[in-house]
Every structure is written in structure tokens, then in C-alpha cells.
């Protein structure tokens, strides 16, 4: 476990900012309890300072996880967000997409979201913007990236892909072995 280098921090922030924008400040500078990012086995954990200090007791080989895993650095040093970060993303997301009940399961199986399945979408969402996906009961179930802006949306036919799938809670079942 170690703190992120400046380079890594930048890569991470770039990625997170795609979803939460300036709200990222609330993650870095938390009023309630100081939190920090820590890198352990190429995975980035977001954890309260107190817990991080306690976890120093545990040897590197024995430590499996602490706090919340946000994602991992790939071998090419890109950052890949995991679905485990969904809690925080949903909390601070700028743009949101709600999908209808009939679109819920296809999305949870890892498919992109078609126009027909979209129930609501935040106004003025630009193209290629990170969005958090909710079901109609307001439960966050994943995140993705818009393929079209809301302005273009009207003209498209119902089968057109509107949001590219990036992660969904179904991965807890599907990718349990690779995720952690």
C-alpha cells in the first residue's frame, strides 16, 4: 500500500472528473473525516485516514482490501473504474440516466443502453459524458458514457445506442474473480 504518485493521481482524477466533474473536490476534501486514495496491488482504494493508518499494521501480502476499491491501473498505466466505485459516483454524479424496468436486465447483463430503454435523462447531457445509470426506483445500477447528446436524442430511432455500457452491478456476479 502506498500513496499515489502525482502522475497516478492525475490519471485517476481525470477519470473521476468525467463522471462527477467539480464535485470531485468533495471526495478529496471531505469535511466529515479526512479521506485519502491509496494504491495497493495496482488497485486504488478510497479510505478514511484513520482506517488507512490502522491498515499499516497488516503486511502487504495479507492485506486484501481496505475501504472502497475505486478501480485499478492497467499495465499500460491507464485507470479503469470498477463498479465498486458506484456508491461515490452516484452520490456526486452530474449527469444521470434512468432506465425503464424492461431495460434493466439487458443493462445488468452488460449491454449498451438503447433509446427505447431510457426513462429519463439529465437535461443537456453532452456527448461522451460519463453518466450514472439508475433504475426507475432510483437505485444506481451502473455507469457508462453517452454516445449522443440529449439534443440529438429526439431524431434517433428507438434501437439506437444512447449510453455505452462501462460497468454495472451485475459484475458482482459475473466478474467476481477478476474484480477483486
Amino acid at each position: 500500500m502506498r500513496p499515489l504518485t502525482e502522475e497516478e493521481t492525475k490519471i485517476l482524477f481525470f477519470k473521476l472528473a468525467k463522471y462527477v466533474g467539480k464535485n470531485l473536490t468533495y471526495l478529496v476534501d471531505r469535511p466529515d473525516e479526512p479521506h485519502c486514495f491509496r494504491l495497493h496491488k495496482e488497485r486504488v482504494y478510497y479510505v478514511s485516514e484513520a482506517i488507512m493508518r490502522k491498515s499499516v499494521n497488516i503486511a502487504r501480502n495479507q492485506l486484501l482490501s481496505l475501504g472502497t476499491c475505486f478501480g485499478k491501473f492497467t499495465k499500460t498505466r491507464k485507470f479503469r473504474l470498477h463498479v465498486t466505485a458506484l456508491d461515490y459516483l452516484a452520490q456526486y454524479a452530474k449527469y444521470k440516466v434512468w432506465i425503464k424496468p424492461n431495460g434493466e436486465m439487458p443493462f445488468l447483463y452488460g449491454n449498451h443502453i438503447a433509446k427505447a430503454h431510457i426513462g429519463r435523462i439529465t437535461e443537456d447531457t453532452p456527448q461522451y459524458q460519463g453518466v450514472v445509470i439508475y433504475n426507475m426506483a432510483d437505485v444506481p445500477i451502473g455507469f457508462g458514457m453517452t454516445a449522443r447528446s440529449t439534443a440529438e436524442l429526439r431524431k434517433l430511432d428507438p434501437t439506437a445506442v444512447i449510453v455505452f455500457h462501462q460497468a454495472d452491478v451485475g459484475e458482482y456476479l459475473r466478474d467476481e474473480n477478476t474484480l477483486f
Binding site: 479510505v47 478514511s48 484513520a50 482506517i51 490502522k54 491498515s55 499494521n57 497488516i58 501480502n61 495479507q62 492485506l63 486484501l64 482490501s65 481496505l66 475501504g67 472502497t68 476499491c69 465498486t84 456508491d87 434493466e104 436486465m105 445488468l108 433504475n135 426506483a137 437505485v139 444506481p140 445500477i141 454495472d168 452491478v169 451485475g170 458482482y172 456476479l173 467476481e176 474473480n177 474484480l179 477483486f180
Partner: protein, 655 residues
């Protein structure tokens, strides 16, 4: 007496939800079409059951258990609130309806009317959750007696003469239940006193399971099938009984003359079952029904062999488990192991509330009910059209599929916010996430497990459930005070033989050997000491250690706890804080344990309809191991009233 009688007459146990408001409410789902169907079934069963008096009690128990978890407790709850449907069915049966039933909302009554009358909680239109305000405080006695009577009816054939049988002292401990504890088995003597009601009761036993369960079509269909099977069995049973009456109490032919011959005989399961029942009958009234030339040991050995054959146990395991119970109870236990336990889910209070979750699941067509008064977060799933482990709610971390028994150690641990807590054997995380939920994601929770593969599931579950205050590590539990110490509370759900979860994993029946037990108990003893040493006795809020296993053998439970008490005089046993369950043994097969072991709790599949389980709670009062005058002997907590002496004598029966 009138009310009591009513309770006995098959008034089913319903399940109560403790709301945040502190009100007790009852949940009801409306399926009008099914109700008539159900009623028809009840009529049928009423007609049939009396004829099947000789039907094996086992079958009856199984039916009841399958439907309501924590039967004993449920029965106790009877006194508090009635299910609406139940009330109506009771009326159709022509019996005096209980006072409260009259007060409760009628089934046909509209939702609004319910609100007007109860006027407390907002109701949901789709789920038809109606709430009845709890008007009377729990009337433990009546509930308990009703329950006792229920049980007594089960056993009335067998244990009617138990007092005649000489009872070894150590066996008695099993029955030493305390008064407030609504143990299902404790009132056999009550049953005897109320013998005159048994007839009436028996006639209604069959209807019992219909009332308490769901009203689903499939459910009733299944019940019909079961009913038919029961009927067939009852018929056979009846013929048997007739045959037996022809021999007029002559039981000489139960035991074969020569054991050697016996081995060669082909094993007919029906025959074996018959013999099991015969021997049970003889043992229950040994003085009169025995063959004078045979000793009690002969009967018992035969019975054990037959049970091992019938239920497919190794002789070693059979011996080990049989010794824990009386004859009748052992039969119930083995039968209960053949039946799967109900599916329970636990609401993740970090992400949802029980009512919201229930609502969401009902919208998906899941048939569920709150699990009982003892838990505010449990829901029992009766039927689900979708896989319950793959709903969007599950994936979003709103609930966890978790056996009812694994709520108990966490409830006993009672984690507080901002504490430092250790779960020594955490995978796959059911208990850990529950602890975190109770801590409201504050403080520090260290989740440890020795098995790295299982920890993947643990980490996944923690993240899914939105737990943020954990460190997951992969140490051997025995390494613990060295790695990190000074915990406020520790939960040790020790690795065990799994004799409590045979219904889940039947391989235990055959696979475990005495060597396995030796290795396991050794490990458990090491772990319990490591755990105790990791606790900070000076903690302001804590200093508690909870030891639990999903096993019911004494070697893995009382023996280990007693060992810990001996080795660490700086801990004492305290009340587990769980309102039900049997007391732990203080002596067993000539071994005498510390008297404070009474405050530990045992749970059995046949009495509580949850997996067999054991929970012990320690309090560490000093950080130095050296023994002082404040030994555990002094520390025994007497928060419970003393058990009645009558119960002990009546309940205890040999073998």
C-alpha cells in the same frame, strides 16, 4: 383457559414486524382466489387429520417447520398480534375467536378502513401491507403455553409416561430452560396436565400449517400433494397400528434375536422405519412395554443402528448426535435435517429499509414476510419467480441472503458505532456486513479469514453492500493479537464440523470422523484464546467476545468455551442477549463444565427452524491473564429467572 384453548387449536403463528415507530404491525398479502382454495383444504385436513392420529409425528413437525421459521418464538408472538386471515379461519372453524381477532381488521375490509382503525402507518396499495397496532403487550405465558401444547401434541404419544423413566442427571441439563424463554420443548408436563385438550388439538393440527404460510396457489398445490402423501402414509400407519393392537402390546418381536442374523437381512426402509417407531414407543414407556429379557441398551443400540440406516448417517456421527437429545427429540432432529431451512434475506440498512425492500421485491412477484419479532431486518422468502440472488436489488446491495442462524452471533455481539471490531473468520461476509450495518459504517471493522479464495466473495459482498469501514486481511486467525489487538468487540464464528447445517450439506452425515473432530476442536481452542487476547478489556463501550459455531456437538461448543474459561481467568461468560434458544450444557456425559455455561445459547433445526447453532458471549474484565478473585465463577450473570423445577423433571428423559 378459553384463550389458551384457542391458541392451541391450530391458531397459527404469524410474524411481526417491529417498525421504527416501535409499533408492531402485521403484514398481509391478499390473494382472494387462493383463500377459498385454502379454506377447502383446511376442511379436508380437518376431516383427515383425526383419522391419521397415528401418523408419524415427524411428518407433522416437518410441515409446520417448513412454514414458519423460529416456530417457538412465533408461537410466543401469537399473543401479540393476529394475522387477519388467521382470525377468519379460526372463526370458520367454529371456535371462539380470540379477543384480539375481533379487534383485528377483517380480510375483506378495505385498505382505508384498515388505516382508519389502526391509523398509524402509511400503507402501500400494491403490497397490501396492513398494520395492526400492537395493543397488548406480550403475554408470554399464554403464548408459551400454547406453544407447549402444540409441542406436547407432537410428543403426546411418545412421552406420556416419561416420568416413569429413570433420568440421568446430565441429560436433564438439556431441558433446563428458563421460564421467559419460549422454548418449544419445555412444557411437556403442561401437556400432560392439559391432556384433555389433546384430542381437540389433534384434530386441528393439520390446519395449522396452512394458516401460517402464504396463500399462494403453488403453495397450496404443494400442500395438497403433501397432504396426499401424508394420507397414504397415515393409512399405512393405521394398518400398522391395527396390527399392533392385535398383538396386544406384545413387543417381543421388535428386536431380532440375533444381531448377526440381522446383518444379513435385506434392509427394507419401510420396515426400518416401523421398527424405529416401535422402539421409540417402547422407550417412551419402558417399564410396561419392554421385553423383560432385553435391556434398555439393547433397544437403544438397535434404534441407533436403524436411525443411521434410515437417515444415512455414519455410526460415529449418529452416536454423537443422538446423545444430545431425548429419543423423541432426536427423531425430530434427524427428520428436520432432511428438510431445507427457509430462505431468509437480511435487509442492508446501509442502503435500504426493510419496508422499502419488501415493497420492491413484492413488485417483482416475490412472496415474503418478516422473519419474526426477533429481527428487524430479516425477511423470509416463501416463493420467488426470479432468482433471489440475482435481482437488481440484490446486486445493488440492498439485501443479503443469509441463514437465520447467522443473525444471532451478530445480534449477540451488538456492535456499536465508532468501535474497533474484528471478525476472525469473516468469509463470505454475511455476518461481517451485518456488523458493518450495525456500526453504520463508522469505526473500524477488520474482516479476517484464513482462506484466500473465500475472501474474494467477502470483498465482493462488502463492496456490494456499500461497507466502507473495513480492512480485509488474510491472516491465520491464530496470528491475531500479534497483527493487531485492542479490539472493542470480536466475533469468532469458528470453523466447525457443520453438524448444525446438515440440511445444507448432508456430506457431514458420513464424512466426519473422530480425527476431524480432534483437529477442529484443537483449532477452535487456539482461535478462541487468540481472540480473547486481542480484546481490550479497558474499552469504554466494549470488551466483548462472541464465540459461535454452526455445529451442535458439545466438543466444539461447551468444551471449547469451558477451556477458554479455564485458560483465561480474565474473561467471564455473560448473557448472549438473544431471547430464545436452549441453554448450553453445564455437564455432559460425565464432563462437568463451569456453571456459567448456562448463559450460552444453543439453537436446533427442529425447535427453532433455523440451522443448528451455538452462541457464547464473553466479557473481558482485565487485560492481565493472571487469575484473581473475580473469577468467572463470580461473574455468572443471573438476569434470567430460575427455571422451574417441574419442567426439568418432566422434560428430561433418558436416551
Amino acid at each position: 383457559m378459553g384463550r389458551r384453548q384457542n391458541n392451541k387449536q391450530g391458531v397459527p403463528q404469524d410474524v411481526d414486524v417491529e417498525k421504527r415507530t416501535g409499533k408492531t404491525v402485521t403484514k398481509r398479502t391478499k390473494f382472494g382466489g387462493n383463500r377459498t382454495n385454502r379454506r377447502r383444504l383446511q376442511e379436508e385436513s380437518k376431516n383427515e387429520i383425526p383419522t391419521t392420529r397415528a401418523l408419524s409425528n415427524i411428518e407433522l413437525t416437518r410441515k409446520r417447520q417448513a412454514n414458519d421459521p423460529l416456530r417457538a418464538n412465533g408461537a410466543k408472538a401469537n399473543g401479540n398480534a393476529k394475522k387477519v386471515k388467521v382470525g377468519s379461519s379460526a372463526t370458520t372453524n367454529g371456535r371462539t375467536a380470540p379477543k384480539k381477532d375481533a379487534k383485528g381488521p377483517l380480510p375483506k375490509r378495505g385498505r382505508n378502513a384498515d388505516i382508519d382503525e389502526e391509523g398509524e402507518e402509511e400503507l402501500d396499495s400494491e403490497a397490501e401491507i396492513s398494520m395492526a397496532e400492537d395493543e397488548q403487550d406480550s403475554d408470554a405465558d399464554s403464548g408459551e403455553e400454547a406453544d407447549a401444547a402444540l409441542l406436547a401434541s407432537d410428543a403426546s404419544d411418545m412421552v406420556s409416561d416419561t416420568e416413569d423413566i429413570p433420568q440421568p442427571a446430565e441429560k436433564r441439563m438439556l431441558w433446563d430452560d428458563e421460564g421467559s424463554d419460549a422454548s418449544a420443548s419445555d412444557d411437556h408436563d403442561d401437556a400432560l396436565l392439559d391432556d384433555e385438550f389433546d384430542e381437540a388439538l389433534d384434530s386441528d393440527l393439520g390446519s395449522d400449517d396452512f394458516d401460517s404460510g402464504s396463500d399462494f396457489e403453488a403453495k397450496s398445490r404443494r400442500t395438497v400433494l403433501r397432504q396426499q402423501r401424508d394420507e397414504a402414509m397415515a393409512q399405512a400407519e393405521l394398518e400398522d397400528a391395527q396390527l399392533q393392537t392385535n398383538i396386544a402390546g406384545d413387543t417381543l418381536d421388535i428386536l431380532p434375536d440375533d444381531d448377526a442374523d440381522e446383518e444379513d437381512q435385506p434392509t427394507d426402509l419401510a420396515m426400518v422405519q416401523m421398527r424405529i417407531q416401535e422402539i421409540t414407543r417402547v422407550l417412551s414407556n419402558f417399564k410396561e412395554m419392554r421385553d423383560p429379557s432385553r435391556s434398555r441398551a439393547d433397544y437403544v443400540t438397535r434404534l441407533q443402528k436403524d436411525l443411521a440406516l434410515y437417515y444415512d448417517y455414519s455410526e460415529f456421527m449418529m452416536q454423537k448426535l443422538y446423545d444430545l437429545f431425548t429419543v423423541a427429540e432426536a427423531l425430530e432432529f434427524f427428520e428436520a435435517n432432511e428438510v431445507p431451512r427457509p430462505v431468509i434475506i437480511r435487509t442492508n440498512t446501509l442502503k435500504s429499509r426493510r419496508r422499502d425492500l419488501a415493497q420492491a421485491l413484492i413488485n417483482r412477484g416475490v412472496n415474503l414476510d418478516p422473519v419474526g419479532k426477533w429481527s428487524k431486518v430479516g425477511l423470509q422468502v416463501f416463493e420467488s419467480p426470479v432468482p433471489i440472488g440475482a435481482t437488481p436489488e440484490y446486486l445493488a446491495g440492498q439485501y443479503m441472503i443469509q441463514a437465520a442462524s447467522s443473525f444471532l452471533p451478530v445480534m449477540s455481539l451488538a456492535p456499536k458505532e465508532n468501535e474497533r471490531i474484528l471478525d476472525m473468520c469473516a468469509a463470505p461476509g454475511g455476518k461481517t456486513t451485518y456488523i458493518a450495518a450495525l456500526m453504520k459504517n463508522t469505526g473500524l471493522l477488520v474482516a479476517n479469514d484464513a482462506n484466500r479464495d473465500r475472501e474474494k466473495a467477502l470483498v465482493a459482498n462488502l463492496h456490494r453492500m456499500g461497507v466502507k469501514n473495513t480492512i480485509v486481511c488474510n491472516h491465520d486467525g491464530r496470528a491475531f493479537p500479534k497483527v493487531m489487538g485492542g479490539f472493542d468487540r470480536i466475533l469468532l464464528d469458528a470453523p466447525c464440523s457443520g453438524t448444525g447445517v446438515i440440511s445444507k450439506d448432508p456430506s457431514v452425515k458420513m464424512s466426519k470422523t473422530s480425527e476431524d473432530f480432534r483437529v477442529l476442536t484443537h483449532l477452535q481452542k487456539e482461535l478462541i484464546l487468540a481472540g480473547i487476547d486481542s480484546i481490550d478489556a479497558n474499552s469504554k463501550t466494549g470488551g466483548y467476545f462472541v464465540y459461535s459455531t454452526c455445529s451442535i456437538t458439545v466438543d466444539e461448543n461447551e468444551d471449547v468455551v469451558n477451556y477458554a474459561l479455564q485458560k483465561r481467568p480474565n474473561v467471564k461468560l455473560i448473557d448472549t442477549g438473544i431471547s430464545f434458544g436452549r441453554e448450553g450444557f453445564t455437564s455432559y456425559q460425565g464432563k462437568h463444565f463451569h456453571p456459567s455455561l448456562k448463559s450460552t445459547r444453543r439453537f436446533y433445526p427442529h425447535t427453532h427452524n433455523m440451522d443448528g447453532f451455538y452462541v457464547a458471549k464473553f466479557k473481558k474484565f482485565s487485560n492481565t491473564v493472571t487469575s484473581d478473585s473475580k473469577g468467572p465463577a463470580k461473574s455468572q450473570i443471573k438476569s434470567k429467572p430460575k427455571p422451574k423445577a417441574v419442567k426439568a423433571t418432566a422434560a428430561a428423559s433418558t436416551d
